[in-house]
């Protein structure tokens, strides 16, 4: 699992893991049923405290992104996130605010930003599609 941790990132290490796993799923590099490495193994790979990895997995599980079953380990969940709408809005609002702040500081107009969001969405969608096709074939 390709994850990079930085102590100087400005956000806690567990959150860096959570966000990067969400990204890997959104980018189609991990899909439903794919297995995540056991806590201890990922901790050794990233050289971080196992409790931190466990916390990231707990967070992803309560967000409905992964499921942990006895025997089969931790896998990416089948269905999208079963979060309440208000919670979804809250999480996204936070991100959007950050993005807007960043783009206003970079003096990127809103129109350009929206265009860029659409472009990225298409790129990610294509990656997910490709992935599900190759999985069906496999």
């Amino acid at each position: 699992m390709q994850i990079r941790i930085s102590s100087d990132d400005g956000s806690p290490i567990y959150l860096q893991i959570v966000n990067q796993i969400k990204y890997l799923v959104a980018a189609g590099r991990y899909g439903a049923g794919d297995r995540l490495p056991p806590v201890r193994k990922l901790a050794e790979q990233l050289l971080v405290n196992p409790n931190t990895v466990a916390r990231a997995y707990r967070e992803l599980e309560s967000a409905g992104l992964i499921t942990t079953r006895q025997g089969s380990g931790t896998t990416i969940a089948d269905h999208g996130s079963p979060l309440a709408n208000s919670e979804k809005v809250r999480i996204l609002t936070e991100r959007i605010d950050m993005l807007l702040a960043e783009s206003s500081q970079l003096e990127v107009p809103l129109e350009t930003l929206l265009k860029l969001i659409r472009q990225r969405q298409q790129t990610l969608q294509q990656a997910t599609k490709k992935r599900s096709i190759s999985k069906r074939k496999g």
Binding site: S7, P12, I13, A43, L46, L47, V48, N49, P50
Partner: protein, 295 residues
């Protein structure tokens, strides 16, 4: 029953006229990695020597795994794995001889595990310790500290002056040790990036005193790194309530907030500045802030 792995209460130590340790209190609960950080001469090694029973408490008390390490050295040392900064190993022995020597001391020595570690660390048992490279010497020390599967692993500045590959092995050993249930690690380091990665709890030492001792999440979560911007360039650092030492020049200044964030934000606004960045600080940021505050 006393659950603490390490409990130090009111420990004081003087060397001549110098206070090496002053009223040190720490309480390490089971199953965690405890990081001890501080500048050189802050008292980390002196504290660790008390845990190993190499120094006797002049004042206060020391309990390790439920025992006083000076009164019950066998019970304590049997269950500790220790790697010192000096890494004093018997130079004339081969690695294989050292392994047999350790086996005689530790009833729990696990020969299979020892050989497994040899393989992981790419050590040759026939090699004489004298002739080992610096990195291989540390790996040998680590093997000797780990192969009896100690309840408590104590590492004193294990990474200082080593290349990333060896540091990687050391951190890996810490992680594996704590991942096995009920085992504990205490390590001192001035590589704060490493401490931030692996520690559950951190104590910051300064001039023989513990100036902060809390879960790492709490330490990082209760501090904020703030960068502010003034319309007009400033010739001197701002002095605002709730802020710490300010770094910067002209328009932009950064601080680690150690107090009330709301109070600081109000003060920033009142001073006519804007917050342009707010993030969680690194352990290094917090360390520098807390040590400069004490000085």
């Amino acid at each position: 029953m006393d659950e603490s792995v390490i409990r130090v209460e009111g420990l004081c130590r003087r060397f001549g006229k110098q206070n090496a340790l002053e009223q040190v209190n720490i309480d390490v609960r089971p199953g965690i990695v405890f990081g001890l950080v501080g500048e050189n001469g802050a008292g980390k090694t002196t504290l660790i020597k008390h845990l190993l029973g190499q120094l006797e408490a002049q004042q206060g008390s020391v309990q390790v795994l439920g025992y006083d390490p000076v009164q019950n050295p066998v019970e304590v040392l049997e269950n500790i794995g220790y790697l010192s900064e000096e890494r004093d190993l018997p130079d004339r022995m081969t690695i294989g001889q050292l392994m047999r020597y350790q086996q005689a001391f530790f009833p729990n020595w696990d020969e299979t595990y020892a050989h497994q570690l040899c393989e992981t660390f790419q050590l040759d048992v026939t090699q004489r310790i004298q002739r080992l490279s610096r990195g291989q010497r540390v790996r040998t020390g680590l093997l000797a500290a780990l192969a009896h599967r100690p309840q408590l692993l104590i590492l004193d500045e294990p990474s200082s002056g080593l290349d990333p590959a060896v540091r990687h092995d050391i951190l890996g050993a810490i992680i594996r040790t704590v991942a096995e249930e009920g085992r504990n690690v205490m390590f001192s380091s001035h590589l704060l990036d490493e401490v931030q990665r692996v520690a559950d709890e951190v104590a910051i030492m300064h001039r023989g005193q513990i100036v902060m001792c809390d879960p790492l999440d709490q330490i990082l979560g209760s501090h904020h790194r703030l960068t502010i911007r003034f319309d007009e360039p400033q010739t001197v650092a701002p002095d605002l309530p709730g802020g710490g030492h300010w770094n910067g020049e002209r328009h932009e200044w950064t601080t680690v907030c150690n107090g009330d964030l709301d109070q600081l934000k109000k003060a920033v606004a009142a001073a006519g500045a804007q917050i342009v960045e707010q993030a969680q600080p690194s352990l290094e940021d917090v360390f520098i802030e807390s040590v400069s505050r004490e000085s």
